[in-house]
């Protein structure tokens, strides 16, 4: 069946299945799948933490959990969902999809890609080791000092947290740089920036935001570590420090991070909706521009997390205005999606489409409460109440997890080569949609009635018993819906029917190759003439096969004119070993052992040296 070209490419790019290639692979598809599976395991853990909290809060005055356990659970729930689930999952999905969508064979730096995954796995284990040693992080996911400083939280709980996040930021930054260079340099000939799929646009902006947003978080965590362990005074007002410095640094990362989570999600929605509305997206340039603008404005709104800290009025007004302006690009996108659905042919109500439309509904609700917070007096009234909890679950669960489920169903046939069950898919959508609203809508009311967040129980006098019980029932329904997704995936993997190359009749390049794609992605590098290549070009192939060796095609950054073929490194165990070196550094720091830290640093530096030596002159 296979042509001579395909045989030759398989010879160059193929990997022996088995334990060796498991530890050495640089294949973006395998690494992407790994990211996805690992992040889903963390999603499950974060879900269990949420379930335990809802169990505790189902009735007033319950004693299932101690206050200390509750602190650890909400801290790890937030940390897990933000840092270990949603961001790595979107990174993993992009890892799998972006090279295929832009018509190339791998990421720009395959070994760095493997390294990013191993660091993510290591940092996730590091953060969860707290539960094993009985000292899980307990200062909340934004870890405000002085509460998290050396005086009020003396255990190693928050050391695990801050060191774990510094460790993880290596993975995030490396992954983002890899993605940017891949998108800049490896697009198929003809895929100018103005023809790039909107999902690729979204990931491109997201990756830039990661590069710029992680350093403030890392620096803040370095300062927290120094304050906790070396006696510095950054957050200590008695010696010239200021706890507000932490809040500025954290939210300078934290608000862009909201969009780091949200933009990949809108990228998915902008991909799924045109496919099922069966027409190109309405207003492509406006949607792409809105993505870029969101990414820029996101860096100018962080103070709206600090409206209740007594900052000068004039400053607050500026940030309130910026926070209202950022709703405009989001609004543009919502109208583009609605117009696409209306102007398209009768939409196909598949599971991905349902999740995408469900997203629009809940995101608009979350967006409305978001605009309410941009008003300073309202924000000061409801801050630290369940109204906030309701809002950010509408924008994070509604705004990111719904599109994520849309994407996972949409690309399931491509990634696994199997089709999933639509019936089960629809059941899981409706369970999650109904359960989600049942869980989080009552929280708006609880918050207005005065229920504070992060408190392990509440008094029956507050009048929120019924609402809390409703919320717990909703959470149980969401849980059942999510388990149903897992059952559907497992069942389909085993006995789903074989998927064709393009089961949805979609327009983007990943559907031009088989499901699942071969190691080399495409037998010949496609040449692109428009924004929806599979709808516009019946004949996509070219005579660019690059069969001389392990090579991919470099193209210019704006117009994607072909340049020279770029040599690619093969698999290696060095990324894994180097990641282990970094893990040793962070474990030494956690244990406070200077000799061990120095020794492991030296070993890690030597490993990086070996890595560059092994590459000779090849980037990777």
């Amino acid at each position: 069946m296979a042509t001579a070209t395909e045989e030759r490419l398989e010879e160059i790019w193929g990997e022996e299945p088995g334990p060796v290639s498991w530890f050495t692979t640089g294949d973006h598809k395998r690494i992407g799948k790994r990211y996805i599976v690992t992040a889903l395991i963390f999603f499950f853990l974060g879900g269990v933490e949420a379930a335990l909290m809802r169990w505790q809060l189902a009735q007033p005055g319950a004693t299932h959990l101690t206050p200390e356990q509750y602190d650890e659970l909400f801290s790890m729930h937030g940390t897990t969902m933000i840092f270990l689930f949603i961001t790595p999952l979107f990174t993993g999905l992009a890892n799998y999809l972006v090279p295929l969508m832009i018509g190339t064979r791998d990421m720009a730096f395959p070994r760095l890609n493997a390294f990013s995954y191993w660091i993510f796995l290591g940092a996730g284990i590091f953060l969860y080791a707290g539960f094993v040693v009985g000292a899980a992080p307990n200062g909340g996911w934004f870890a405000y000092p002085p509460l998290t400083g050396p005086i009020f939280d003396p255990g190693i709980n928050m050391d695990i947290w801050s060191l774990g996040l510094i460790f993880l930021s290596i993975s995030t930054t490396a992954g983002a740089i890899n993605l940017i260079v891949t998108i800049l340099k490896l697009r198929a000939p003809g895929m100018s920036l103005a023809r790039m799929p909107l999902y690729v646009w979204a990931m491109f902006v997201t990756a830039w935001m990661m590069v710029l947003a992680m350093p403030p978080l890392t620096y803040a965590n370095v300062l927290l570590q120094l304050d906790r362990n070396l006696g510095t005074h950054f957050f200590d007002p008695t010696a010239g420090g200021d706890p507000l410095l932490w809040q500025h640094l954290f939210w300078l990362f934290g608000h862009p991070d909201v969009y780091i989570i949200f933009l990949p999600a809108v990228g998915i929605v902008s991909t799924v909706i045109p496919t099922f509305a069966r027409r190109p997206i309405v207003g492509y340039p406006y949607v792409a521009l809105a993505t870029v603008l969101t990414g820029i404005i996101a860096f100018g709104v962080w103070v709206h997390h600090m409206f209740a800290t007594g900052l000068p009025q004039l400053g607050l007004t500026f940030f309130a205005a910026a926070s209202m302006i950022i709703t405009i690009p989001s609004g543009v996108q919502v109208f583009a999606w609605l117009a696409t659905i209306i102007r398209g042919r009768r939409p196909v109500f598949t599971t991905p489409f349902l999740f995408a439309v469900g997203f629009i509904v809940v995101f608009v609700i979350g967006g409305v409460t978001g605009v309410m917070f941009a008003s300073v007096p309202f924000d000061q009234g409801v801050t630290d109440s369940y109204f906030i909890v309701a809002h950010f679950h509408y924008v994070l669960f509604g705004g990111a997890v719904f599109p994520l489920f849309a994407g996972l169903h949409y690309w399931f046939p491509k990634i696994t080569g199997r089709t999933y069950s639509e019936t089960l898919g629809r059941w899981s959508f409706w369970l999650i949609f109904v359960g989600f609203n049942l869980t989080f809508f009552p929280m708006h009311i609880m918050g207005l009635l005065g229920m504070p967040r992060r408190i392990y129980t509440y008094s029956p006098d507050l009048g929120v018993d019924g609402l809390n019980l409703l919320s717990t029932i909703g959470a149980a329904i969401v849980f059942v819906g999510a388990v149903l997704v897992a059952i559907n995936a497992t069942k389909s993997l085993v006995s789903g029917s074989r998927a064709s190359a393009n089961p949805w009749g979609a327009a983007t390049l990943e559907w031009a190759t088989t499901s699942p794609p071969p190691h080399y992605g495409f037998a010949s590098i496609p040449i692109v003439n428009g924004r929806d290549p599979l709808w516009e070009q019946p004949q996509l192939g070219s005579d660019l096969t690059l069969t001389d060796g392990r090579e991919i095609l470099g193209t210019t950054i704006t117009d994607a004119e072909p340049e020279d073929p770029l040599p690619m490194p093969g698999g290696s165990v060095l990324p894994l070993v180097t990641a282990l070196g970094f893990a040793a550094v962070f474990v030494s720091l956690l244990l406070g052992s200077v000799p061990a830290a120095l020794l492991s640093t030296l070993i890690t530096v030597a490993l990086i040296g070996a890595w560059t030596w092994d590459l000779g002159g090849v980037p990777g």
């Binding site: 350093p215 950054f234 000779g616 980037p619």
Partner: protein, 192 residues
């Protein structure tokens, strides 16, 4: 494995972009560090706090000349390899390393001779953290270019293939430039 021969040409190789983006992240890190300094500085009634002396301008000035000056041989190292001269590259990189070591020695002397420490107050914490952060980067830069020297003996670079040298030189210039910003904020701005 002699993949070295196949290295892509031109300053815009993927490796160059990767290094440029890494430097962007690092610039953000230093920008955050200096912004934190200014944030606490403008909240303090006096700066430096009473009883703490200003950083030594003469020593700081000499260190600045040495480090910023080390960019000049690094520039010629890159030009040397572009014109195919591995020897010129080696000599120039060695010169840059010597200058950077001079910078580090002065920093070490300053660490030892300052009357306050990072434990004294927030001023001391900021001063030593920012200097240490930068000092570690200088050490990192030295390791990177020293490694380029060693790799040059294994024949990794020639007039056609030297993207790693270009990336290393770019990183070197970044460390020097960022020092200028640190010098202005830490040494000059408290005197205004």
């Amino acid at each position: 494995m002699s993949v070295a021969q196949a290295e892509p040409r031109g300053a815009r190789a993927p490796g160059w972009w990767g290094m440029a983006l890494f430097i962007l992240a690092e610039l953000t890190l230093f920008g955050t560090a200096l912004a934190s300094y200014l944030f606490l500085r403008f909240r303090a009634p006096t700066w430096p706090p009473p009883g703490v002396e200003q950083p030594d301008l003469v020593l700081g000035g000499i260190a600045t000349v040495l480090l910023v000056g080390s960019s000049i041989p690094m520039f010629f190292a890159e030009r040397g390899i572009q014109r195919g001269s591995v020897v010129r590259m080696r000599i120039c990189i060695a010169l840059s390393i010597v200058l950077a070591l001079g910078f580090l020695s002065i920093q070490g002397y300053e660490y030892a001779s300052t009357s306050f420490s990072w434990r004294t107050d927030a001023y001391g914490s900021l001063f030593f953290t920012i200097l240490s952060l930068h000092g570690l980067h200088v050490i990192g830069g030295i390791l990177i270019v020293a490694w380029l020297e060693i790799r040059s003996f294994a024949g990794h670079f020639n007039g056609e293939h030297h993207a790693a040298v270009q990336a290393g030189a770019l990183y070197w210039h970044f460390i020097d430039l960022v020092w200028l910003a640190i010098f202005i904020v830490l040494y000059l701005s408290p005197r205004i």
